[in-house]
């Protein structure tokens, strides 16, 4: 209980802070020419825009080094061709980089290549977390109510005990004064019972309140597990936002850098699971990008290196990999069969429909209820995508005849039958 709450609390804080930072530092990206974006999209897995060499050479000051003229266009579009032609400089850089050939980018235009190289030539500046550059939105410190309650209960207990003993002592003092013998204090349980007997109304009231609280809690808990799902209020699963081993921001990746969801969740169109990417997918880019302008990025990215056993100093996978243990956000019960490819490929459902506006999230939180009622509602309201799919041809004809102009929903074709998801 506590750990969950703490997770939620701390992660929220981190998210809000990191959101604030990313908003601050990403604003200037719009002022940059295309070069930076193109570089990030095409080049950054092998090159940096600094002096640092990763798979390929660092490209800072590149325009000073390379032959002038069209050489750069030819090289980028098809380096193998240039090498084949016996170009001296090409041979030289090939040798310098251990004979690793560069991927060809035949689709880049001259302008784009110029933009990339101009930007890389100037060099990227790693902006560190150098003090506040603007008002930082401070997250409100959320306090764990259980902790509070425990403190209150503790204080009350101390108070009650103190008062009880004070009362006993004072009573004894009075008795002593009156010349009576000291009366032994009644045992605690007996005393409590006496107190309860004397304050029946109060106890009853407390009992009713407690029961009411339980009922409310129980109601939401029941909703949370999907028993009554028509109108799930935010409260249980929506907003579930666990902390993650890496403070990974979908906003930076999916929004700012416009990386497609499928780049990392690569099996979404092939399998029932979209799959959480293996750490090596991160390394496609982060082998090069070891630090970004986002404060704390270096430490977070370093966690990928720990996970994959990568040693940035030697640029090699020499350490023992330690698999990452992510906290699953969108959890369906084991008795539900959900297929991503069914929804994404056949149904052409957008990721956002079930996962919410992930592009705006830092670490992911659950925005949709994902209860059975919610699923069923969608199946009742979503038209079945039958056009152009040979599988549905006959069904489509039959349904058109039957429903005559009405939209044909997934449910009409049997999409809310138990056996479609539970087996």
């Amino acid at each position: 209980m506590t750990s969950l709450w703490q997770n939620v609390r701390s992660s929220r804080l981190v998210v809000v802070l990191s959101l604030a930072f990313t908003i601050l530092f990403s604003t200037n990206s719009f002022a940059q020419p295309d070069g930076k974006k193109l570089f990030k999209a095409n080049c950054s897995s092998c090159h940096t825009a600094t002096d640092k060499k990763i798979t390929g050479p660092g490209l800072k000051g590149v325009l000073d080094r390379i032959p002038s003229g069209d050489w750069k266009y030819n090289w980028v579009r098809n380096s193998a061709e240039v090498i084949k032609s016996g170009d001296a400089y090409a041979a030289k850089i090939l040798a310098e980089n251990g004979g690793a050939a560069m991927t060809a980018f035949p689709r880049l235009s001259n302008e784009e290549i110029d933009a990339i190289l101009d930007w890389a030539h100037k060099g990227d500046v790693i902006v560190g977390p150098t003090g506040p550059t603007g008002p930082v939105e401070q997250a409100e410190e959320e306090t764990n109510p259980w902790f509070l309650i425990a403190i209150i209960i503790g204080i009350l207990l101390i108070l009650i005990t103190t008062l009880r003993y004070a009362r006993i002592h004072m009573q004894n003092a009075v008795r002593e004064k009156e010349g009576l013998s000291e009366e032994p204090a009644a045992p605690f349980m007996e005393a409590s019972r006496t107190w309860v007997n004397n304050n029946k109304k109060l106890v009853a009231l407390l009992g009713v309140l407690f029961f009411g609280w339980l009922v409310v809690k129980g109601w939401y808990a029941a909703k949370g597990v999907g028993v009554y799902a028509e109108e799930v209020k935010p409260g249980k699963w929506e907003g579930y936002h666990p902390s993650q081993p890496i403070n990974f921001s979908h906003k930076i990746h999916a929004n700012d850098n416009a990386i497609q969801c499928q780049y990392c969740h690569s099996t979404v169109e092939k399998s029932k699971t979209a799959s959480i990417p293996s750490a090596m997918i991160c390394m496609n880019c982060h082998k090069g990008i070891q630090e970004t302008a986002t404060p704390g990025s270096k430490e977070e990215i370093a966690k990928i290196y720990t996970a994959t056993g990568f040693d940035p100093a030697t640029n090699a996978y020499t350490n023992t990999p330690v698999p990452l243990q992510w906290n699953k956000v969108h959890v369906l019960p084991d008795h539900v069969f959900f297929s991503h490819q069914q929804h994404v490929v056949v149904g052409a459902v957008a990721c956002e429909t079930c996962h919410g506006d992930v592009k705006a999230m830092g670490t992911v939180e659950q925005q949709r209820p994902l209860t059975m009622g919610w699923c069923v509602d969608c199946h009742r309201n979503t038209p079945l995508k039958m056009e152009g799919n040979g599988y549905y041809t006959e069904l489509h004809e039959k349904m058109k005849e039957k429903y005559k102009g009405q939209p044909i929903t997934v449910a009409m074709a049997g999409g809310i039958e138990c056996g479609r998801c539970h087996y």
Binding site: M1, S3, L4, N7, L214, K217, G218, A221, A222, V225, W237, Y240, P242, T267, S271, K272, S275, I276, P277, S278, A279, M280, I281, A307, T308, G309, P321, P323, L324, Q325, W326, N327, K328, V331, P333, D334, H335, F337, S339, Q341, Q342, V345, V346, G388, N389, G390, Y391, Y392, T393, E394, L395, K398, A413, G414, E417, C418, G419, R420, H422, Y423
Partner: protein
């Protein structure tokens, strides 16, 4: 004409025993001790007030609420580096081979996230095709056996200690170098590379002899062919080409050579349709009702000692130099005439290991022209090369050997007592075993070097001349095990890993084909296909042959010299010698049986017993007796009476059947000096004066849960003078007084209402030829409108089927009852294993059961001819068949997916519903376990989870899911059911959904046959056909239109989606009205 046959599932059922009748009336046969659950008597009597009840209620509300507040944090741990070929959630299939010395199958291994979870047949294979037998299906569990050895072990004193591979290699090298004589005892090896590795080993250590020794010997067949054809071999039998098949004591459908091929071919000859109204005719002579005998058109019970006389009689009848039949003369004459008339399309097979009988059988096959037609001698079968005589010789000369290496052989368990193997082994100073458990033999060894499981190992196989298959690993080794071959290579001074070694062997085979010029391309193709065909050019082999032949030191080594060449050159090494026809005849003439003769046989489920620790196989009911988890003595009722078993002293009381299964009398059986104590099972169809006991039980060395199940019968095997194993003999029996045994038999469990043609329909080929609907009259009902077809009468409206209507056809003609589907279903659907105790309470969980029905000869038509029509006598005869020889029919029953289902209407929580595709859906998470549905199911196919089988300690060791490693075999696409919910066949709804999704993604209609249910896929004879009934071109739609189609209990009006095809018998006797 309606079929008047009365069907019965067991003797108790036949006699309508009160206990059984009562059981059949209930879905839950066992008394349910509700009161014991609630508490003792005082609790029940205690006065629980309303206030107390409210208190409990309040407390549970609080507890439930608090429990629900906290959601467990679910972890997701992705790959650090996802292997390219693995897509989480998508299965990969790898072609491989299963060969354990008993069964051979070319297989496809289904893996999920790198874990093998299911075995299917490789349709490219010419041997087994896409079907597999139960043992092959179940073998996947052997990989996840957590009792497998995890390290090499060395014995010091009497204690085992774990060692590293280097340590044992060092210790063994010392021993080998100092050794004066080394013997390798293996089961049959059909792997060219393994033979090469052993060849290398022989070259290094000159004093090596290699003996192939099989638990179940075919030496008799080999010797007979050595005598009749001048070449020690087992030919290939083509049952599919035979019109007349005669089996003499041969269970070729359950256990014969490769274990599966005969079944497939035989099934092909049994299929009939409106276009093909011919089928094979099968005569069977056997002592005990076997799976094969149960499928025979004409079965004659005889004693094992009479097999020879039968063979000689047949030989005489087909025109050979036999002896006029004396035993079962009528049947032999009929079979002989049929064989003769078959014009070469005849086949006689015999299960006896007696070379004399086998020689006569060869003579019959020669006389009928079977050689060259149904028997192919140019393609040899290498799967059983065991040479009993060589083993005997080794034991006799054991003093010349000081090191023994056991590879995939367990002779301490499987050798006959007469061989004296265990005693001989004591004198050997160094014993090395490659066993994966401390089994009976390994326990006596000094070193155990656990071999990989077959799913972890590379390998190659040549089961037949020119037919190769490759074995590729589907998972990395789970434990620190090693290829046995690698050990041989290492000890011979080599350093290659086994994969490169296998590749090296195969580089020599590239020349056998012309499609691939490049070895890598050839190799990749073979790895993908799993099978390869090519006739050997015998090039690289000759060289090795020469090397070995130069070096023979001892007699036995000389005899053994050729095995290096065996697998690649294609010849069996055999020192058993030959036998002449005259010798054979005089031996047969001299054969005399005692009062009781025993038939030692292998069960369809257990085989040779090397998978005895597999709970799936233990729990699979025997096809005939329907007994699980035990072996037993099968006996004729009159013999039982003679022995005063089951209280049958009273003349008037033939058999006392009430609760017979619960109180089996025990007997001590002594055969060949070996005594076992086993319960007696009265088996209809057992020849009088014979008993049957199965091999493969009484194993040791696994764990407390599966050790010592049943009794070991191997020591009772006899040895002939010529050294071959004899699987029959005289038995002495004494009743064990005052002891009974409650056996776990499922034969009367889940008995449906009705015993007539509303359950099962049969006809004869003759009748079917004239009438498509023979034996299958339309079902009608009396209504106010007059006689109406049952299918037109209903209370209910029909469901709409907009897209699909799934249906299943089961052809009772090609269903042989082998039970492969039962195991396949168990694996595919995570069906829990419940163990012997629960089965005794009728609580087996199998979604798919095979009902085995016996029936009598007497029907009304017969009564008309005998003048008994309408008399009490007639009814008595109808219900009391000759025990000697009842007719048998098998009927697989799973959820019938009724279109007007009884279960759906009574569920109070709507947990079982109907889909618009015709499926009866069971939603586990909705089920509250009222069990009304099961009570209302006329087919009795619903199963209730009485316990949490995956966690409750009572099922530890039985249920694979209880084990951290065993759990990996579970199918991740199917929910593991919790306690208190009902479950049943879903028609593999996970496969249907996957198939639909594939079609949707491809944008095409579902191709007929693209979706296969697990039972259908495993079926060796394609008796189960699944498909879409809305697709008029699908196979299942066509079968629905066939005249043989009938529905079980059609008169109930449940409109099942599963239907059956009338069983057609090729019987020609006058009494054969069905």
């Amino acid at each position: 004409m309606a079929n008047q046959t009365k069907y019965w599932k067991g003797l108790a059922h036949l006699n309508n025993d009160t206990a059984v009748a009562e059981k059949n009336g209930k879905e839950f046969a066992e008394y349910i001790p509700v009161e014991e659950f609630v508490g003792d008597k005082s609790t029940l009597e205690a006065n629980t007030s309303r206030r107390d009840f409210l208190k409990f209620l309040g407390f549970s509300t609080v507890a439930a609420t608090l429990a629900a507040c906290e959601a467990p944090v679910t972890k997701a741990v992705p790959y650090v580096n996802r292997p390219e070929e693995i897509t989480p959630g998508v299965a990969n299939w790898y072609a491989s081979t299963f060969f354990d010395g008993h069964d051979y199958a070319s297989i496809l291994v289904k893996t999920r996230e790198g874990r093998p979870i299911k075995i299917e047949g490789n349709s490219l294979s010419k041997l087994n095709g896409s079907g597999t037998n139960a043992r092959t299906q179940a073998s996947v569990l052997s990989l996840y056996d957590s009792t497998r050895l995890r390290n090499p072990k060395m014995k010091a004193g009497n204690a085992w200690s774990d060692k590293t591979w280097d340590e044992v290699d060092g210790a063994i090298a010392e021993k080998l170098n100092a050794s004066k004589g080394i013997a390798i005892i293996s089961s049959t090896i059909i792997s060219p590379s393994t033979m090469r590795a052993i060849g290398d080993f022989k070259n290094k250590y000159k004093n090596v002899q290699h003996v192939m020794y099989d638990a179940i010997s075919y030496a008799g067949v080999i010797k007979a062919h050595a005598s009749s054809h001048g070449k020690a071999m087992i030919p290939t039998y083509n049952f599919d080409k035979a019109d007349v098949i005669v089996g003499i004591g041969c269970d070729f459908l359950g256990n014969w050579l490769t274990g599966g091929e005969a079944e497939r071919q035989y099934g092909m000859t049994r299929k009939v349709s409106a276009d093909k109204k011919t089928m094979s005719k099968h005569y069977q002579f056997e002592s005990q009702l076997s799976l094969t005998g149960a499928n025979a058109d004409e079965r004659t019970p005889v004693k094992p000692s009479q097999y020879g006389a039968i063979a000689l009689g047949l030989l005489h009848e087909v025109g050979g130099e036999g002896v006029a039949p004396t035993v079962a003369a009528d049947a032999v004459k009929k079979a002989g005439a049929a064989l003769k008339a078959a014009n070469g399309k005849a086949l006689v097979v015999c299960g006896s290991n007696d070379p004399a009988i086998q020689l006569i059988v060869n003579a019959i096959n020669k006389a009928t022209g079977a050689y060259g037609s149904t028997i192919n001698t140019s393609i040899e079968d290498f799967t059983h090369q065991g040479d009993d005589a060589a083993m005997k010789k080794l034991v006799e000369n054991i003093s010349s050997v000081d090191t023994v290496i056991f590879y995939n052989a367990n002779p301490v368990y499987t050798a006959p007592k007469a061989l004296g193997f265990e005693a001989a082994l004591k004198g050997v100073s160094t014993k090395i075993s490659f066993a994966s458990h401390v089994d009976e033999t390994a326990a006596l060894c000094d070193f155990i070097l656990p071999d990989h499981n077959y799913l972890e190992a590379w390998g190659d196989h040549m089961p037949r001349t020119g037919q190769y298959s490759l074995q590729q690993p589907a998972i990395r080794p789970l434990f620190s095990t090693r290829h046995a071959q690698e050990s041989f290579i290492k000890w011979s001074g080599g350093s290659k890993d086994y994969l490169s070694y296998v590749k090296e062997t195969w580089s020599g085979m590239q020349s056998m084909q012309s499609n691939f010029g490049d070895f890598n391309a050839f190799w990749i193709n073979v790895v993908r296909d799993g099978v390869f065909e090519g006739m050997p050019a015998a090039a690289p082999v000759a060289e090795e042959k020469k090397v070995v032949k130069e070096e023979p030191k001892t007699d036995s080594a000389k005899a053994d010299a050729a095995p290096v060449a065996t697998a690649t050159a294609g010849s069996i090494v055999f020192i058993g010698g030959t036998i002449s026809m005259d010798e054979a005849k005089s031996q047969i003439a001299a054969t005399k049986g005692g009062k009781y003769e025993v038939n030692i046989y292998t069960k369809t489920s257990m085989g040779s017993g090397n998978q005895a620790n597999n709970p799936w196989l233990q729990e699979m009911p025997d096809p005939i007796s329907k007994i699980t988890w035990d072996n037993y003595v099968t006996m004729h009722p009159l013999d039982a009476k003679e022995m005063s078993l089951f209280g049958m002293e009273d003349e008037t009381m033939m058999v006392r059947f009430d609760q017979m299964e619960d109180n089996l009398d025990m007997v001590n059986v002594t055969v060949n000096g070996h005594t076992v104590k086993l319960p007696v099972w009265i088996q209809p169809g057992q020849a009088k004066g014979t008993i049957g006991i199965a091999l493969g039980y009484g194993r040791k060395g696994f764990n407390e849960y599966v050790d010592n199940i049943g009794a070991n019968m191997y020591p009772a095997i006899g040895m002939s003078a010529g050294g071959t194993m004899v699987y029959s003999g005289d038995a002495a029996m004494t009743k064990v007084e005052g002891e009974t045994y409650r056996i776990a038999a499922t034969q009367t469990h889940h008995t449906m209402m009705g015993r007539n043609d509303d359950i099962l329909r049969e006809t004869t080929l003759a009748a079917y030829k004239t009438d498509d609907r023979a034996g299958n009259p339309l079902n009608t009902m009396h209504t106010y409108k007059g006689e109406q077809l049952t299918e037109e009468v209903s209370l209910w409206n029909d469901f709409e089927r907009p897209n699909h209507k799934w249906g299943m056809a089961i052809d009772l003609n090609s269903c042989l009852g082998c039970g492969s589907c039962v195991v396949a279903c168990t694996i595919e659907n995570n069906v829990p294993v419940v163990g012997r105790d629960e089965i005794r309470k009728s609580r087996e969980m199998h979604w798919l059961r095979i009902d085995r029905y016996y029936s009598s000869d007497t029907v009304k038509e017969v009564a008309e001819t005998t003048g008994e029509m309408g008399t009490m006598e007639m009814y008595r005869h109808m219900e009391s068949p000759t025990f000697d020889n009842p007719k048998v029919a098998f009927q697989p029953i799973m959820c019938q997916h009724c279109n007007h289902a009884g279960c759906e209407t009574v569920c109070p929580v709507i947990a079982t519903t109907h889909s618009n595709e015709g499926l009866n859906q069971m939603t586990y998470n909705r089920c509250v376990g009222t069990r009304y549905c099961a009570n209302n199911c006329p087919y009795k196919v619903r199963r209730f989870n009485w316990f949490n089988y995956v966690e409750y300690h009572r099922f530890k060791g039985l249920n694979p899911a209880q084990d951290d490693i065993g759990r990996m075999v579970l199918n991740p696409d199917v929910t593991v059911r919790a306690r208190g919910v009902m479950e049943k066949c879903s028609m593999c709804s996970q496969r249907i959904q996957a198939g639909k999704l594939d079609a949707k993604k491809a944008g095409t209609k579902i191709v007929d046959g693209a979706i296969k249910t697990a039972c259908q896929q495993a079926c060796p004879t394609d008796a189960i056909i699944f498909g879409d009934l809305l697709d008029v071109n699908s196979q299942v739609s066509k079968m629905e239109q066939d005249g043989r189609k009938f529905e079980v209990l059609e008169n109930v009006g449940s409109r099942p989606s599963v239907f059956y095809m009338t069983k057609v018998w090729n019987r020609d006797d006058a009494n054969a009205t069905i």
